[in-house]
């Protein structure tokens, strides 16, 4: 059973998707079935958590499973979880369950196609985090794109065509470079297995991977697709996209760039840190100036992904564990924020901050939930985001205090844009779009968002749950961390 857990976590949602697509079922049934599958998936993840051996020795991951896919080039179906990827998978299943629940509650046209695609996206994303073979990783990485393309293109807002084209073009430009890198690296190592492949020192191969991940994250200046994709998607798809799919880039930086290309990683560290810092500051400013809800969240995602990347490229224990902790934090926060934005847009029929306001009065649930999420997002001391950002800054400090100053400035900027968002939605009374008749959050909506908040509060109480359980079983990472200055 334990050996099959990784495979099960990948293919349970995919099987669910096939059932939703192929078995005729009434409108309501598709959504409830998908939700059921997503909840079972969460259950399996918790089950896997109890069986996860955080002190495992050696380079093989937990729940390791390997079958030959095609032998002449040594490509195999090889899956398994390291501690850091297991947390990202946990983030995926939770955000997916919440997103599906939200979509079910909000109601979507053509539910069978929709919920099938959501489940498929979940399976593909878990697959990315589980894969231990480069070609398999690439396959899952691309497979995520297929459902996203349709989810945005069919169920998105009025500007969805442009958004999907931009999204696909950016992402594929990166991915195809990665394919060339995968081939070059795999053939020169004579294996595509990530556990077996020896580290390489080729700058070109490294860059192929790094650019793909930089687009996916996204890192400044490759973020051109981000605002449109996040604005035009249905809110729960935006939640998946910014909360979960972007973390595939973090996994890639960890599992491939850091573990397999130590020398190029060092050579390009300054460049990537500069880009990440620029993205951090620039994204924060844009978030502060963005005219609408989704714009604020989208650009804050850009900023946060920059911060996480800084943590990864600090290349020491504090930075890396901070990066994973912050990745989980950001996933939960941005999923909550996008779902709340969806709830607000449904009520006010607009996301423009100028036309919103005064929603706190008479709507205590909405005010409380948004306030709590916002406070965690701006990383007040004591919150899990604070712990994550602190670790990242502590990690980057040894490389030069200037980086830490940039990080600290960004935290101030985060406070500015989050507070602006909160006051524009909840307090500012100059608005017209949201009148007295607008309802508070419904119990169903609370049931969807509150679990995310509960997780965030739990992590605030015990951030070490992630940050102290992440490097012990991380394949060849610890050795690297010790090597680095």
């Amino acid at each position: 059973m334990t050996g099959w857990l990784a495979t099960l976590l990948i293919f349970l949602p995919v099987a669910g998707a096939l059932v939703v697509w192929l078995v005729p079922m009434p409108r309501g049934a598709a959504g409830s079935f998908a939700l059921l599958v997503a909840l079972i998936e969460v259950g399996f993840w918790i089950n896997a958590l109890t069986r996860f051996d955080f002190n495992r020795e050696g380079a093989t991951p937990n729940f390791d499973q390997q079958h030959t896919w095609f032998s002449d080039l040594n490509v195999s179906y090889h899956v398994g979880f390291y501690a850091f990827s297991f947390w990202l998978a946990g983030l995926t299943v939770v955000v997916a369950a919440v997103s599906i629940a939200y979509a079910f509650w909000a109601g979507r046209e053509r539910p069978r196609a929709y919920f099938g695609l959501m489940l498929f996206l979940t399976g593909a994303t878990v697959g990315v985090f589980a894969s231990q073979d480069m070609l398999l990783f690439y396959a899952f990485f691309e497979a995520m794109l297929i459902p996203l393309y349709v989810l945005i293109g069919v169920w998105g807002g009025p500007g969805r065509m442009g958004a999907t084209i931009k999204f696909v073009i950016y992402t594929m430009a990166g991915s195809l470079l990665m394919l060339a890198s995968v081939i070059a690296y795999g053939l020169s190592e004579n294996t595509f297995d990530l556990v077996d492949a020896a580290p390489s020192s080729s700058n070109w191969i490294f860059l192929g991977f790094a650019v793909a991940f930089a687009v996916k994250a996204p890192l400044f200046p490759l973020h051109g697709w981000l605002p449109d994709a996040y604005r035009e998607s249905p809110p729960e798809v935006a939640a998946m996209l910014s909360g979960v799919v972007s973390k595939a880039a973090i996994f890639g930086f960890f599992r491939i760039c850091l573990a397999k290309f130590p020398e190029p990683f060092d050579d390009y560290r300054t460049l990537i840190l500069v880009l990440a810092s620029a993205g951090l500051v620039y994204g924060s400013f844009l978030a502060f100036r963005a005219p609408d809800l989704r714009g604020v969240i989208a650009y804050s995602s850009l900023a946060q992904m920059g911060l996480i990347t800084i943590g990864v490229f600090a290349e020491n224990m504090a930075g890396l564990s901070g990066a994973i902790l912050q990745a989980v934090n950001h996933g939960l926060i941005s999923a909550s924020l996008f779902l709340l934005a969806g709830a607000i847009e449904r009520r006010a029929a607009t996301g423009e901050l100028d036309r919103l306001g005064g929603l706190a009065r008479g709507r205590p649930a909405l005010a409380t939930v948004l306030m709590v999420t916002g406070v965690i997002a701006l990383a007040v001391p004591g919150s899990s985001a604070f712990a994550g950002e602190f670790l990242i800054l502590a990690g980057i400090f040894p490389l030069g205090w200037g980086w830490a100053v940039v990080g600290a400035i960004a935290i101030v900027l985060a406070a500015m844009y989050v507070l602006r968002l909160i006051s524009a939605v909840l307090h500012d009374r100059g608005a017209t779009a949201a009148d007295e008749s607008v309802l508070d959050l419904r119990p169903a909506e609370l049931a969807i968002v509150v679990p995310l908040l509960a997780l965030l509060l739990a992590l605030s109480a015990w951030p070490a749950a992630i940050s102290d359980h992440m490097v012990e079983n991380s394949g060849d990472l610890p050795a690297l961390v010790e090597l680095s200055p």
Binding site: T68, W69, F70, S71, D72, L73, V75, R110, L135, Y138, A139, F140, E142, A143, L145, I146, Y149, V150, G153, V154, R160, M161, T164, I165, V168, I169, M172, A173, L176, L177, L179, A180, I183, A184, G186, L187
Partner: protein, 492 residues
């Protein structure tokens, strides 16, 4: 008294099965009552292809080391057998796509007879062992295709396509024949292997006659494979020909032309590989550039797919240009999902065409995905396969092709292919966009005249193509084993 050579009938059985089917179909056109012609001719044709497939599969199993049969004119090896299986499979699907075409009431028997004969010619061509059988096979199937393209007598585009194909195709054949003559003149040999020996023993590597001959042979084959810059006929012929014929042509012709290119270059000209690998790499780059860029601006789906087939000729030429064992495997693997996707995509176009009674464009494709889920999902998988996305065989095919080029040390060719793939995404996704993502108002373009016809055979063909296309992604190992065995019969 002329010595008659001993004939290995087993080696010829795939061709013979299809030829027999052609005979039966032709006779049914004359002997059978009108109403019965269509089912009898179509089943004869289908049986012929099925028989050809089984015979080729048996031949594949029973053939060990490659050998030359029938006075050294026919090569009996696994390469030919695998290509014959692909041709016969494509033919079988083409019959399914053709069957319920309402357009065709006249000449049904002749249509199926020509289709089967065409398959026989292709099966003969891939097993060619010398320049004579090469030309014979080439003309055999080409003549059938010329007529098939012009089969819709009342349709001007169809006639135009037939005429264009006839003129340009004959020119291509002429070039190839001229090239063959020059090669024969230089080496004094017709057999592929004998040409290689003669080149080596006489030190003809720099002989201008041989080099010009090789160049003309290559050009002639590139005509058939519709590789740029010899592709000009392709868009017009693909667009004008009856869609089931286009489907068959795009899959099977490309298969035989490319397999034969691989065979003749590696068997007859191994010593000139410095030259032809570069030549093919250049052809591949031109095909990729021309095919992908021209496809970007197409609105008619058949034209779009025609340009896409040109770009795929480019991808497959990369595999041949790599001239290594991995390249041979890559080509033979690539052909399987490619043929499935190509047949399937044209089948979907055919279905829409019959529904609308008009040429299919990106605009009137709107809503197809929602109205007919099977066709929509299948078209998805075909487009993703063409674009080299995971979950389809096209992904693994491209992966192998690039791996072969990288293995040869041609990183620049890999980069070129990657960029071409990137460009191609735009128009493949445009098809999907057209099917699924149009605004609701456009989705009500549903054709007049009630619900679409139930076309069981066509839907089955599409389903089979989709299963092959997606299955090729999961079952890579068995297909690669087939491809490796087949490529193993060449001196790579």
């Amino acid at each position: 008294m002329i010595d008659t050579p001993s004939v290995d009938w087993f080696a010829l059985s795939p061709e013979l099965a299809m030829l027999a089917a052609a005979g039966v179909a032709l006779l049914s056109a004359v002997l059978v009552p009108r109403l019965w012609i269509r089912p009898i001719a179509a089943s004869a044709c289908a049986l012929g292809f099925a028989g050809g497939f089984v015979a080729a599969a048996l031949l594949f199993r029973e053939t060990g080391a490659p050998s030359l049969e029938v006075a050294d004119a026919i090569s009996r090896d696994r390469l030919a057998a695998l290509a014959q299986m692909i041709v016969a499979g494509s033919g079988l699907l083409a019959v399914g796509i053709s069957y319920s075409s309402r357009r065709r009431v006249e000449h049904v028997g002749e249509y199926y007879a020509l289709l089967a004969a065409c398959g026989g010619g292709m099966a003969f061509l891939v097993s060619a062992g010398n320049l004579m059988t090469l030309f014979l096979g080439l003309e055999w199937f080409s003549v059938c295709l010329y007529v098939l393209c012009a089969m819709d007598l009342d349709s001007v585009p169809s006639l135009e396509a037939g005429l264009k194909y006839l003129i340009v195709g004959s020119f291509g054949s002429g070039v190839l024949l001229f090239g063959s003559a020059l090669v024969y003149g230089a080496t004094g040999e017709l057999g592929f292997a004998a040409i290689a020996d003669a080149t080596r023993s006489a030190g003809l590597e720099d002989d201008p006659l041989l080099l010009v001959g090789l160049a003309m042979l290559l050009a002639g084959l590139a005509f058939k494979a519709s590789a740029a810059p010899f592709h000009q006929w392709t868009p017009d012929v693909y667009e004008g020909a009856p869609t089931p014929v286009t489907a068959f042509m795009s899959a099977a012709t490309k298969t035989v032309a490319l397999v034969l290119t691989l065979r003749i270059l590696t068997v007859a000209f191994p010593d000139l590989d410095e030259l032809w690998t570069i030549a093919l790499a250049v052809l591949a780059c031109i095909s990729l550039a021309v095919g992908n860029l021209a496809a970007l601006v197409q609105r008619r789906v058949k034209r779009l797919l025609a340009y896409s087939s040109i770009s795929h000729a480019g991808f497959m030429l990369i595999a041949i240009a790599a001239a290594n064992e991995l390249g041979g495997r890559a080509l033979l693997y690539y052909l399987i999902p490619y043929c499935a996707a190509s047949l399937g995509a044209f089948a979907v176009v055919a279905a829409r065409e019959r529904e609308l009674n008009a040429p299919v464009t990106l605009d009137n494709l709107a809503g197809l995905g929602w109205e007919r889920p099977l066709l929509g999902v299948a078209m998805w998988s075909f487009m993703l396969s063409f674009a080299g996305f995971p979950l389809t065989g096209g992904f693994v095919g491209k992966f192998y092709v690039f791996a072969a080029a990288y293995d040869r040390g041609w990183t620049w060719l890999v980069i070129f292919g990657v960029v071409a793939t990137f460009v191609s995404l735009y128009y493949y996704l445009a098809v999907i966009r057209a099917m699924y993502m149009r605004p609701a108002a456009e989705l009500t373009l549903a054709p007049a005249g009630g619900s679409p016809p139930r076309e069981v055979l066509l839907s089955t063909a599409v389903l089979v193509a989709m299963v092959v296309n997606v299955g090729a992604f999961f079952a890579v190992q068995p297909l690669i084993d087939l491809a490796r065995d087949a490529a193993g019969s060449l001196p790579l």
